[in-house]
Amino acid sequence: MTDNLASFPGGLVLDGQKKRSTQTPIRQTPLAKKLILPLQQHIGEASEPIVKVGDKVLKGQKIARAEGHVSVYLHAPSSGTITAIDEQPIPHPSGLSALCITLETDGEDRWIERQQVDDFTRLSQHEIRQIIREAGIVGLGGAGFPSYIKLNPGVHHHVETLILNGVECEPYITCDDMLMRERSEGILDGIEIMIYALRTKNCIIAIEDNKPEAIAAIELELPKRPKLKNTKVVAIPTRYPAGSEKQLIEVLTGKQVPSGGLTVDLGIVCHNIGTSYAIGRAIKHGEPLISRIVTVTGTDVKHAGNFETLFGTPMDELLAFCETKRHPGEPFILGGPMMGYNLSGDHLPVTKTANCILVGVDNAAPITKPLPCIRCGDCASVCPVGLLPQQLYWHARAKDLEKTQQYNLFDCIECGCCSYVCPSKIPLVHYFRFAKTETMNQQQETLKADNARIRHENRLERQTLEKTEKEQRQRQRKAALAATKAAKEKEKMLEQQHTDNQEN
């Protein structure tokens, strides 16, 4: 099955640490008393609440609607009462708060009426995308981009191949692995629907070869599906970051997505395994996206594993359920150890993109002050994009933002390979994020300054115009005045003449 595979430059073979969380089957997280549901759990516009405080809602009922094109609906993960719609801390690296709907559960977990579709081919592609949008489905691999948009290639593109990403290349995370092992049927349901929606035939399910159980589970189910006769499982070599969309496409096809382009330019659409499972549930069972599998793992977790968790469940409840050595307020990682981010708040809710909660890692990066860069170039040799991190670092440190762009800063995918291998222990990615933010701020400043300048110029122009108009009007008035005056005088003269004549 590993025939004709290409590879990407650089990358790392990392200690996967996957076994920590694959020893037990997926378990249900106990129903929390309070579910906190941020209105923005996806890329795009935040959803708009359609419930009021005090409303009783059922499990699966819509509580916020999509606002604009790049947006999705949000649903009540369980039955209960809306108790608040206000700002709450959200799981974001900034530590900021955002608008959330708080739902107090009643413990009955009563479903709303569900519309099941047995034969989805009776629906049009458009109808399927509508259902997926209304089911609140976004990419569950981490980005959270509304899935219905990625199932609509548009009239100008033909989709040759659908790629299902089950690579899961980051260490520690196993939620996709366990989903494939235990729910391959549901995943294939979703793939059938996606193939239909995209009007394509070919599908590749890509899985890293460190997950033989998942590969076996999918391969066992696949022959039973006549609709999926052009779908194949491809085991790809375990090398981080093979699960990154662009690198995965390079491994499978040997082609690179053009810089600034989309995968669909190559006739390829990529979706995550978890997303396909959610789509299967939404169409076949009428269940909107209200929960996901979350891996809870790490060196400080006693009962690591995967947990089917309702959105809005406070992460500290989930952590308490798994018994960790973490004390309240201490930081933990959301996501993987290579690309995740630090969170320290308690009561932060599980959202649609929360794939892994990580407490404690082996070989943690040291906090000691880094040594200077010795230009060994190890970072460049592991960069999967072909950047020169040592040069980018040099210019980012000097805040020479223009130079960082010449060295293609914005092509950096922040995979962290460079920081990982650095013998001086320089947090390179940190510098690159900083330079990116600075550049974007600067661009915004320039834009603002440009706008202000244009406004100012327009105003000057307007003022001159007004001035000339005023002068013109004044001149006109003067002329008119003079004319009337002259006319009056003439009249007067004529009158005088007339009287004179009369007098004569």
Partner: protein, 342 residues
Amino acid sequence: MPLSRLSSPFLSGTNRVTLQMLQLLLALVPAVIAIVYFFGPSVLITMSLAIVVALLAEALMLKLRDRPLKPFLTDGSAIVTAALLAIALPPLAPWWLVVIGVLFAIIFAKHLYGGLGYNPFNPAMIAYVVLLISFPLEMTTWLPVTTLSEHPLDFSSAFQVIFTGQPGGSLTIDALSGATPLDAMKTQIGLLQIPSDIVNQPLFGLFGGKGWEWINILFGIGGLYLIYRRVISWHIPVAMMIGLTIISSITWILSPETTGSPLFHLLSGGTMLGAFFIATDPITAATTIKGRLVFGAGVGLLTYIIRIWGGYPDGIAFAVILMNMLVPLIDYYTQPKVYGAK
């Protein structure tokens, strides 16, 4: 749970600057043993002196520049600079030559440019060149392997030569010293001797200079270890050897009566030391893959040009420094293709 960093990645590999420097020192061991075997134990004395002076100078400069002592004294870079310089110096170099060289390397070539990571030129080679220009006599007084076999130099007499200038007993330093094979080749070609005859003299061995060839081979083996342990990449040494081989083959084929063979050049003087340990210094070499090939080839070509047409017997140090100057340019024009670029 002590969390490491503010932002990802939270994992870190085992590689450390100190570890790389230690590997490099380890890779020098076989060749240093050979140097002791052929030229006596004086290199060990020189090297110890150089390392002590280097660490003191490093500490002084860190103090003056208000930098933390521990991380920079333990990074191993000062020790590596001292060791490389000690190996490059003549075996009986007087103690003050060693001290001046090391001080110049650490204070001027390294710290005045900003310390570890910021020096554009290889400190050991800068020091070598400064000494060569300032003290040409002391810098070219080498020991021929042959005279040493007649008058073996023990530890105490080596010590005496280095610190007092005289080996003691009835021997004088002039009786011991002689030209290096590279030097001899150059002057005797100047006297219209033919290279194929010159190499039959006792100063020469199977391929290169007697003793020198084995030292070079052992530097090469140490270098292969460094490539195997990924401390250095193969690009610079291979490109340098190819560059040297190509230009020396051309001149050798065109006029065998005026130049040594390519093999002679590969295994004489500081070729292998330069290829694997000097030109590969990450701080001062090119960092892109293509850039390293250009850099290495440039060092190889320049080494040969200086050996044959320059005023000094060996050209490694000058070649490396000249190529160091071109590194920013080379790196800029040899950027790899970025993912998705046309």
